[in-house]
Symmetry: C3
Subunit: 348 residues, 3 copies
């Protein structure tokens, strides 16, 4: 599976990046991340120019990073400022530095040609840093290619079978979806609106609703990295008013950042932001634990599926049905991003 | 090492197959086995047609199997009877089902073209289900290609060196063998008849014979899967009468089913059926423990040999002597079965 | 990375070779080592001619080695002297035996054409068997290609960064080196002479010197296998007299044997011989523990570097500076030895 280069990817949560060195591999590129004394997040290639020793196995000295093998020292822009045994520093002694943008609690890095990086192109998940919402979140490393996680999240009918007892009920698998593709903005939309559904424990316990619900799942996927699920939960029959706020409903903004690490590993960043019970820590703890369990059910299933697909590459065939419309649209958009982001050839 | 397709293979013992899903990989093909409510053993391809999720990571609903990822549901013939989110089931939604025959406590599956499967072609080991015999048995997964186990079992001179103290004595390695090949029936016969041999602990303790023995080892190998060792033990000088039953001797029917799993793993099914002390559970327990130890000595040796051969594929050379006649005949017959069982090309 | 064949390599310390079978893989060739009843060290190929079973998984019978699978038996020259089931022993039944020389506590084996083996070509490390010196030593298996250990040892500026607190001080990285190459004798010399340096704990505690030191590091690398570091430690300003012994200084002869095992594993034999405090076991124990720690710091770093290089073979690039002069000379000499030792082609 090819990668879409020249795109923004989430490398970490902001509070993971500090004065200890953090290692992440994004699109196969090894990164070391840290924060300068002034607080600026830095992402450098994690390979010393001398003998390729990982800079992450080293230490900071102020804002510089000192290689733990022979002491080559780099500033936060990747320029070498010290080599052992001589005064002259070779002009080519620099490691690549990656454009970094912090938004909505995420540290985004640009993988591709640095001069094409536009911070305005970072897609947004504002609820994650909005005081009107309470957030639980985490990150799980996945031993599966990122496309399997995209497939998983674009087709929520699996909630009924893989996540029964948490977020799945029969109505999710039974209710048809509508899919829209906005080629200009580069977004795939998938909606499933259940007018009369059982309330799964995840929402029954966190919202306090008793009885059946009206449940809306509105997905926005911004390939390659950001996935948003607008989840609206209300007592059965309660719909948004024609004007005014939708205050009789409960809203959960479920955010995934899907960051390819290597060909067959992925960082699965997940967060749930809610506009209800925002000061009730017991609800937060319940949602954190429940959603972590749901994520781990996906991780277990996708790791298994990766092993199957990797072991039988010549037997790959699938059968797609209506529920796969959103996932197939996402694959097509990803394929175009892969093509568009590939290194330009000389004659073009 | 190529596989011989269009043949019967032992996938399990009958009592391993029930209402819990059993996973076995035979000739590289992933199978899920279970038993219908009426008791019929079923073997299906362990891959959902939708996204290849293993059906074995799922559950039974009556006689149907429900995929644990998105709920695709198959009947015991492999036909899909339910898909999520729509009424219409695609005509191509079916997983391969494998012909199954139960014989002599084994569940045999046909790997190849289903319409060529003939239950009459299943080779027999009737002692395993004969009330006149007592049976101990087991199965060990082997991390070695199946040919190494065939070699091992066709040349019992290794008993002297690898299984000394259990079933080996000097006479096994010292006594020449006779080999016969029945091309029409597809059987290799190897006999070693020791007129005056030490009695190894395996037989001394189970038969109660004191002193030296006359020991016959008559092998029948029915490639690819079934190996029979007719073992006759009697006090030294006691031979079968010209007519009437051989009641002064002790008979052990030692059965192996050699089932290739992947290129370098094998299922090693083993059983010892005896016509003596059949109600003496202490003898049974002793033979079970002893034969398991012997099998594990082989497993350890063959796993080691597999690592050697896999790591040095370009250095493969051997030196064969008289004791290898049976093993070489078996290899030739296997090679013909591989050729005969290969998928037919279009113009043939 | 290619190997230099037709060279002597250290396979073991002499006291590792006895009546128990020892397995070592040198330049990809599996060896079994043992000592005859008369005390002669023997190295045979660790593969039975019959079915390639490792002879190391077997046992000695006097000076012969008996294969644990079918009993093929070899004398200490590798000639087969027994096969099971028949009197005639095939003429080709022999395993390669390797020329062996014991020198300076090492067991050297010749990997290549046996008739080119000249014991006079074994390079010497006489301090290891000299009663005027006390020796501490060990061997660590390295999960890295041998070239990384050569690089490591030829450029001691890494002592400052990787071994600070043990043998490294700032002066090592700061002091330029001089490099000489003797093409005729096949030796690379690297010297670093520090006139006024901090005394690292390794020498402060073992010599008792207080205050600053004059520290000389004189390397002789005899490719492919033997590395000598003549380390001279004296109170600051104390130099060898114009004539007479250098008795005011402390001398440590630090010896490494770098033996390629496979493409990406290496035996790292290390020894420290000292001419001071030779009867003080507490100094010996301190140096043994300290040097083992230093070696394990290298092992950890090189294992990490191997994983990086192996995972990114197409990204290999380096930037070399003055400190690398010795390492680059060593690489060039190794490349010539690889070429010279390669099997001769028919027309040459």
């Amino acid at each position: 599976m090819a990668f879409a280069r020249n795109q923004w990817y989430v490398a970490a949560y902001g509070d993971e990046v500090g004065r200890d060195l953090l290692v992440r591999t994004v699109l196969g590129e090894p990164l070391v991340l840290y924060r300068t004394e002034a607080g600026q997040a830095v992402a450098l290639a994690d390979r010393c120019v001398h003998r390729r020793y990982p800079l992450s196995a080293s230490r900071l000295d102020g804002d510089t990073i000192v290689c733990g093998y022979h002491g080559f020292t780099y500033d936060s822009g990747g320029t070498c400022v010290f080599v052992p045994g001589q005064q002259r520093i070779p002009r080519t002694a620099r490691v690549p530095s990656y454009p970094v943008v912090e938004r909505d609690s995420f540290v985004w890095v640009w993988i591709g040609e640095p001069d094409r990086a536009d911070p305005a192109g970072v897609p947004r998940a504002p609820w994650l840093a909005d005081p009107g919402y309470a957030v639980v979140r985490g990150m799980e490393p996945l031993n599966a290619r990122y496309g399997l996680l995209v497939d998983n999240l674009m087709d929520l009918s699996h909630e009924t079978y893989l996540h029964g007892g948490y977020i799945g009920t029969p109505e999710v698998a039974d209710t048809p979806i509508t899919t829209q593709v906005d080629e200009d903005r580069g977004v795939v939309y998938v909606s499933r609106r259940m007018d009369d559904a059982a309330c799964p424990p995840f929402y029954a316990r966190s919202t306090g609703i008793q009885g059946r619900i009206t449940r809306w799942q509105d997905i926005e996927y911004h390939p390659p990295c950001l996935y948003l699920l607008h989840s609206r939960i209300a007592p059965q029959g309660v719909y948004p008013p024609a004007d005014g706020p939708d205050s009789a409903a409960f809203h959960a903004e479920i955010v995934y950042a899907i960051t390819p690490s290597t060909e067959d590993t992925t960082y699965d960043f997940w967060a749930v932001a809610r506009d209800f019970a925002i000061d009730d820590e017991s609800v937060g703890e319940y949602l954190r634990t429940s959603n972590h369990t749901v994520v781990m059910q996906d991780v277990t299933a996708l790791n298994l599926l990766e092993r199957v697909i990797a072991a039988e590459p010549d037997k790959y065939q699938e059968l797609s049905i209506n529920i796969d419309t959103g996932g197939l649209a996402a694959r097509r958009m990803l394929a175009r991003l892969v093509e568009a982001g590939a290194p330009q050839r000389a004659l073009q």
